[in-house]
Amino acid sequence: MNPRDYLAPEVAAKLDRFELRARLIVEGFITGLHKSPYHGFSVEFLEHREYLPGDSIKHIDWKVYGKTDRYYIKKYEEETNLKAYILLDCSNSMKFSSQKISKLEYGKTLASALTYLMIKQKDGVGLLTFSEKIHSYIPPRSTSVHLNTIFKELEKTQPLSTTNTPEILHNLADRIKKRGLIILITDLLDDPEKVMLGLQHFRHEKHEVVLFHLLDQEEIDFSYNKKTRFIDMETGEEIITQPWEIKKTYQKKIEEMKAYFSSKCHTSYIDYVPVTTSTPYDKVLFAYLIKRQKLL
């Protein structure tokens, strides 16, 4: 199987362990990149690695080539003080899925892939899962062991309760003193203005923020064609409606919301990345990398 296949969410979801998922996704991702993500990242030599197509030839260790007649590139130990915080929304609304994987499942896989990628880059990664309150918090570290800690935490993360994103954001913004990268994975089904204030709080504290706005395709299309009783996953509220009647207006609302976040984030220098559960992971990782590059 081509490693790039694992970039498709439904394929990656077939794998049980996050470690495996993360590795396959990242490897597959990297294979496709023309430019090595490691280039220029580190200064201290760590080890040799076999040259892979796409690696820059200037990193080839010609001495080793002379000895072994093989291409090796030098790898350097990273020296970075970047601390990334992955904030994963695990409220009940994240449980929604119209296809094979739920938003939470997608979010978890994405978080694991990001963690893997970042730890491999020797960046410190922390994980925070929350709904109306914080469920778990793993402070950022950059060791390989830490990778397992995060994977385990992700594995046991279950959807819970309602959302209270703004409060969590404010809370966390107050606690993290050191400037870092905040990666927020959420469906943003909360008061947009309050959420936005929370995000701006991070910006105020000089954090960099990447916002992965995760939605299910059905939440955007709203293509139900039978009379339906909709039950709110968080509040349990019910509504009976003929979806085709309200579809247009609903779609307009969703678009308005996305447009709101898009424009507000733009003005606050926050990277806003709309994602659906069918978006291939490479696109999402790529967005992260762009951000990461900006930080250097």
Binding site: S93, L189, K227, F230, I231, D232, M233, I239, W244, I246
Partner: protein, 668 residues
Amino acid sequence: MNLSFLNSLFLIGLVAAIIPILIHLFIKYKPKIVYFSSLRFLKEVQKKKSRLLRLRELLLLITRILIILFFILALARPVIKALLPQKSTSHAPTAVTLILDNSFSMNYLEKENTLFSEAHKKAQDILELLTDKDRIMLVSLDEVFNSEHDYFTTQSQAIRELQSVSISDNTAPLLQVLESIKPRLEKTDMINREIYFITDEQRVAWNDIQNARLNADLFVIPVGEDSVRQNVSSVSARYIPKILSETNNPVIRAEVKNNSPEPLSDVIVSLVLNNITRAETALNLNPYQSKQLTFDVPDQGERFHFGEVRVKDEMLPDDNVFYFNFPVQSNPKICVVSSAELPTALSSILDVITRQQWEQKIPQEMNGQIVENNQLFILYAPSSFDEKMRFYADDILQKGKAIFLIPDEYMHQQRDLQEWLIGHNIQYKNVEEEFSVIDFVNRAHPICAVLSDEHFQTAEIAKMWKVEAKNCVPLIAADDGSPVLLIQDNLLLSAIDFTNDWSNIIYQTVFPVLSYNIGYYLGDAASEITQYQVGSVPAGGLELEGEFTCQMPDGEIIPLTFSGNKSTFPYTYQQGHYFIYDDSGLVKVLSFNAPREESDLSLLSAQQKEQFSKANNNIHFLTPENWHDEILTSRYGYEFWKQLLWIVLTLLFIEMLLAYSGKEIFKK
């Protein structure tokens, strides 16, 4: 507005209209359940849309109810009456029965035209108002005409047939005509059925009309404007033979009647015999007065066969002439049943009146043939009255023949006879030998019609039977009140023996007259019946058998066969004389007259019309001014089930649009 349904049973189906309501109220669709991430947006949107949704659901419900209602209504085939007067060009197809009053009163002359010609014109007008889609049955009050026109035809054909309707002397009452057209009208497959009766509104045609059960509206269209109409008619004329007349000559007794509410003076009445006017007289008549006239028959040795009594009346000629004929001088057929010899006085009179053709039999000789051959049986002092005789006596009476019982003083010995008489509520009690005279003659009975007690002035009775008979009518009675001659139907009883021991009546001049009357009244059934009413078919009793020719009143000569009680008269609806010839010449004249009820031109009063209309909602009396407009206003309008089905189709389309409108938008 008048709405009716041809298949009203289907209306029960209207209950089905509650099905959509029940579904709407009680059956909730189980919606699909979806756990959705957040209802935040849905709620906002739903709020805005819900009113629209409810409105659409309501519209959908109404549409579905209407679909069912209109569909059921269409099945019930509704028809609606026109609200406003319509032009004839736009009426719905109608089955019209046009009854033209063709009784002879319609021949009344008004303003140089007869009422019938006016009726013709109105009938023509009505027919022209109709279209080719209508069906018309043209009838009259003449059942013979109607039997040949008992079908519905087209407008153009009806206009052609209109010319064939003419005045008839033989018309039926309206009720009878309505009854006969009813089944034919019922057979038509058209919803709109109407009957138009064009008439002079003469009262006589309307007898018992309130009992009519009509299956269509009857519109009475009047003709004629005069409310007072003059008519004098010749009501009857009859030959009275010499012996019965009071003048010792045969006479013609006639009756004329003034049928108008105004007096008439100098009405000229004339007697025509064998087509020659023999006498003429002028009369003054009070309103509705009848007068009897007596014309002497001129004795000039010639033989008369037929005659007419005419009145002069130009307004209505059909009842001006009354036709009569001279009776056939047949021989009364008399049989004397007796073992004894008949008194000479009686037997000699029998010789005269039967031209010696009477026969005498003893009771034992009686048989069926003798009963058949004779008309009057004189039972005189029968020596026995056994069972066989009783049987024949009953048979004679049953067959309408007559018995004249003349007792002798030994009658009480005849136990069987006494019993038979008691069976008829008659009892000969005892013979009283007391002198009495005759002081009562019952002139109401034809046998005594021309006699009076003066004729019996010198008649004396020495002895007589006391007869008790409750059901008998006395013809002659003695001064003590005991009946001398009494009659019960066709059983004539005498209380005296016609011998000189009992009474001298046999020597009186009145005796032959009385005997003659008895002989002709009881012994000759054929002498008076050659006067007929138009339309009846003469058959038996004419003593005619075999092939003859007949000259009809209109001059046509036809072959005619008489066989037993049957004859082959093709029609007898014309007034006048019907001459019957055999090879040797004229054998009989039959006179036919129209019934004179038609002569009474009294019109229906406003109260009577109102009464008829009240008794029968279907009868509408129109006026000369409004009939033209009124006949079309009451028509039924159209059947509109097709339009209803179109509405149902449209509603179905709307329903589909409403039901799937949301989904279609969704597809886009």
